[in-house]
């Protein structure tokens, strides 16, 4: 919150779009602004009414460099926009830097996402330290459809104004805590020496020399990828990372998505009725990649680019002691680490047995 917990003393607020950016059609700007206000009216008793002349509580304008409020913008990138806390005159107003390229997708800065953030300030919220929150200060593209206001932002705004009568999207996503005792994972892969650990719409980047893992939103790295991943693995020989979601998979070279993807998993030889991959790991010594689905697994020969005969086989038969499903898996120094719920099983490839059972969150030294 701002000092003195500034807020509006009324629930019915007006806004006016004073001018427009040349980057978008007027109707696109109108729609983005309206949708951005709806993010906040859905979770509070606040109502926003547009007026087209005179002074509104929240005046919205585009400007460049010094634009009249002694808080100059700085040209392309850097500062994208700012807004003032609730109050008279400039209070509540939101300004957007027109030296930026504004867009309705990920090609420029997404006007809806930036406006929703700025209106959080206009209503009394300061920045959040939660990297998954809308009110996190650094721009993060989170996708073009299906925006869900994160729980951290809902907590904040409802402390100021209370809840609304009806929340159309009551499941507000929380940012995962890496030391949560019940932490479960979606997927794990190496990527050129770093480890990427996927959970919900995020992944942690874990650098071997660093203790602290950096939490990043998948979409902020790869706008084209879905906002959740089922499984991922690296084929270091090809220097490719493969990411799986539902029946599709993408190939990355470094951080670039390779042309021609996504492809369908049945193109790898899986039956057409297979809905998703749960876990995947490449075993460098054998050149094989193991895919885990439900209580079975498959072996894929990267050289012949085909699934091996005699599969699928039961996980419990060939990997006794790790349970009958796999959330995520990776291999390191002759061991495979199978993640199943809040536990991980350290499995020796050589002696073919579980050596240790650890908490899933111990991957983060918790």
């Amino acid at each position: 919150f701002f000092p003195r917990k500034l807020k509006w003393s009324k629930n019915n607020l007006t806004y006016r779009i004073v001018n427009y950016t040349p980057d978008l059609k007027r109707a696109e700007v109108d729609r983005a602004i309206k949708k951005a206000f709806k993010v906040w009216s859905d979770v509070t008793p606040l109502n926003f009414t547009r007026i087209r002349s005179g002074t509104a509580d929240i005046m919205i304008s585009f400007g460049i460099k010094e634009h009249g409020d002694f808080y100059p913008f700085d040209g392309p990138s850097g500062l994208l926009a700012h807004a003032f806390p609730p109050g008279p005159n400039t209070g509540g107003d939101a300004h957007f830097d027109d030296d930026e390229l504004w867009s309705t997708d990920s090609k420029g800065y997404n006007l809806f996402l930036v406006a929703a953030h700025e209106f959080g300030h206009s209503l009394g919220l300061e920045h959040s330290r939660d990297p998954g929150a809308l009110m996190f200060p650094v721009y993060t593209y989170t996708g073009n459809t299906g925006f869900l206001l994160p729980d951290d932002d809902v907590q904040g705004i409802q402390e100021l104004y209370g809840a609304g009568d009806y929340d159309p999207n009551p499941k507000h996503p929380k940012t995962p805590e890496k030391c949560d005792a019940n932490l479960t994972l979606d997927g794990i892969t190496d990527l050129r020496g770093e480890m990427m650990i996927f959970k919900d719409r995020f992944f942690w980047r874990l650098h071997p020399q660093m203790v602290d893992a950096e939490l990043v939103q998948i979409k902020s790295f790869w706008p084209e990828l879905p906002s959740k991943v089922d499984a991922a693995y690296e084929n270091p020989i090809k220097d490719h990372v493969f990411m799986f979601r539902g029946r599709k998979f993408w190939a990355l070279n470094g951080y670039d998505i390779i042309e021609g993807y996504p492809k369908k998993i049945y193109e790898l030889g899986f039956p057409k009725n297979l809905k998703a991959i749960d876990g995947a790991v490449h075993i460098s010594d054998t050149g094989k990649t193991l895919f885990f689905t439900g209580n079975k697994y498959w072996s894929y020969d990267e050289d012949t680019q085909a699934l091996e005969k005699g599969y699928p086989r039961l996980i419990e038969e060939d990997f006794p002691g790790i349970g009958d499903k796999v959330d995520a898996v990776y291999q390191k120094n002759g061991y495979m680490y199978f993640f199943n719920g809040p536990l991980q099983f350290e499995y020796s490839i050589w002696s073919k047995r579980v050596m240790r059972v650890l908490n899933t969150n111990s991957i983060f030294w918790c």
């Binding site: 800065y109 300061e126 920045h127 990297p131 650094v138």
Partner: protein, 88 residues
């Protein structure tokens, strides 16, 4: 941006422009007060404490010195509203 002497090995990484950029960033977002026209050198400690504030806010290693990771984060596109305190 006065990098205190024990960080001098870092100073080589950053150009004068980089240091000015970092100082502007701390002024805009962490209320680093601007230096009266050269009358007195801003104490390096003030800058270090603002850097610590920023590093703590973003969950970086809190060193109080301008390292590469901190500078990289300063360059990311963001909102112009201060992260701490309020507009003047």
């Amino acid at each position: 941006l006065p990098i205190s002497h024990e960080d001098s090995e870092d100073i080589d990484e950053f150009t004068k422009q980089d240091l000015q950029f970092a100082e502007r960033y701390l002024k805009t977002h962490y209320n680093l007060h601007s230096n009266p026209a050269g009358i007195m050198r801003k104490s390096a400690d003030t800058v270090a404490s603002k850097l610590r504030e920023m590093q703590s806010f973003f969950g970086l290693e809190v060193t109080g010195k301008l390292d590469e990771e901190t500078y990289e984060l300063m360059q990311q596109p963001r909102c112009g509203v201060p992260d701490v305190g309020e507009y003047n």
